[in-house]
């Protein structure tokens, strides 16, 4: 779909690519969410995260979220890009960019997309500590 860019990749994500995709003369604003790898969970020091995905289904679910976000908030274009594999502190696992005629739609669609992604897209992260590793959310 020409208003939606979905990507799941082991390459480094590109903010410029997401921006360039959603940018459009009909839009008055672009909202961007960038997820970054944090160096701690509770009080434990995190060394790195390992993201794995059920690729084909993750792409479908991300596309579903993108379509829903555009329709629900009347946003114009959306990019949802997610990384897989080992990411270090400060690396970027996810970028969501949304353009819309007016800012409220861009903000709301972007928040909707990242919140929904965290609920439904089959991607898992394993936190690696000094003394072991754990699947995040595995025991809710």
């Amino acid at each position: 779909m020409k208003n939606i860019s979905i990507k799941l990749t082991s390459d480094t994500l590109s903010l410029q690519e997401c921006y360039a995709f959603v940018e459009d003369p009909s839009c008055g604003g672009i909202d961007v969410f960038i997820g970054t790898v944090r160096n701690h969970t509770a009080k434990k020091t995190v060394n790195q995260l390992d993201f794995s995905a059920y690729g084909p289904m993750a792409l479908k679910e991300m596309e579903k979220i993108a379509r829903h976000a555009l329709a629900k908030f009347e946003a114009h274009k959306i990019a949802i890009h997610h990384a897989e594999g080992i990411l270090k502190i400060g690396d970027i696992p996810v970028i969501i960019a949304v353009s819309a005629a007016h800012r409220t739609a861009a903000f709301e669609a972007c928040k909707f997309a990242i919140d929904r992604l965290k609920e439904t897209v089959p991607i898992w992260k394993k936190e690696h500590f000094e003394d072991g590793e754990i699947w995040v959310n595995a025991h809710p």
Binding site: P56, K118, P122
Partner: protein, 80 residues
């Protein structure tokens, strides 16, 4: 009949595999499969908080499985 079961995250670790070729009965549902998995892999006894996808779509427990369906065990997701 046989179905393919893909395992991810903690469930792949608990079972020690990423794919199973699993035998089920005709007209078995997602719920039947969950029970059969728990019987065959007792390490899942205390682990039932996973969703199931059939052919890359989330499936309710009453969905009936068909030969060659691709089933995925989806533990709580944690992307983003």
């Amino acid at each position: 009949m046989k179905v393919q079961v893909l395992l991810f995250g903690i469930v792949a670790d608990l079972i020690g595999k990423e794919t199973l070729n699993f035998a089920i009965e005709n007209n078995d549902t997602v719920k039947n499969l969950k029970t059969a998995l728990r019987t065959k892999y007792p390490q899942l006894k205390n682990y039932s908080t996973y969703a199931v996808a059939v052919n890359e779509h989330y499936a309710q427990e009453d969905i009936v499985l068909k030969e060659n369906d691709i089933i995925a065990i989806i533990p709580p997701v944690s992307g983003g």
